[in-house]
Subunit: 87 residues, 2 copies
């Protein structure tokens, strides 16, 4: 039962970055978005994945794996658009 | 031992939003930052706090409590600066 709550929490965590990725992709701008935020966050996510595996908590490692994926898209978009706007 | 890893992961999660808050505060602009991201994220964080308490995992509920606090500052700053730039 509590694992279900964990999965729901994880789903919201996972999808939380999607609006940011969508916004960045649509406006083609991520100047105000902090790169450091995403880099520190990705480091945290990797540690959570290890912690989740060790604690045998599937909601933690599965959802953090997805967050890592979405966050990586955001970082890639930011690099691309920051480079373009610097031209 | 594994709780220590959880705390380290939690510390990185917690501090990850600080660079964003700092950047927003310094540039006085958060146009490119998605409000939906922070709202969905706060909902997730609340669920994680409940999950952490139920699982008796201190790293989860303590760090998510802090994340909720930092995230709320970011939301407040975004509302203030978006309003100002709309003038």
């Amino acid at each position: 039962m509590i694992e279900v709550l964990g999965f729901i929490a994880g789903i919201f965590s996972s999808i939380s970055f999607i609006p940011q990725v969508y916004k960045t992709w649509k406006t083609k701008s991520a100047r105000d978005v902090s790169m450091q935020m995403f880099l520190v966050y990705e480091l945290a996510v990797v540690l959570w994945i290890i912690y989740g595996i060790a604690k045998e908590s599937a909601p933690i490692y599965i959802t953090n794996g997805f967050v890592f994926f979405v966050s990586s898209i955001q970082i890639t978009l930011k690099i691309i658009y920051d480079k373009k706007s610097a031209k």
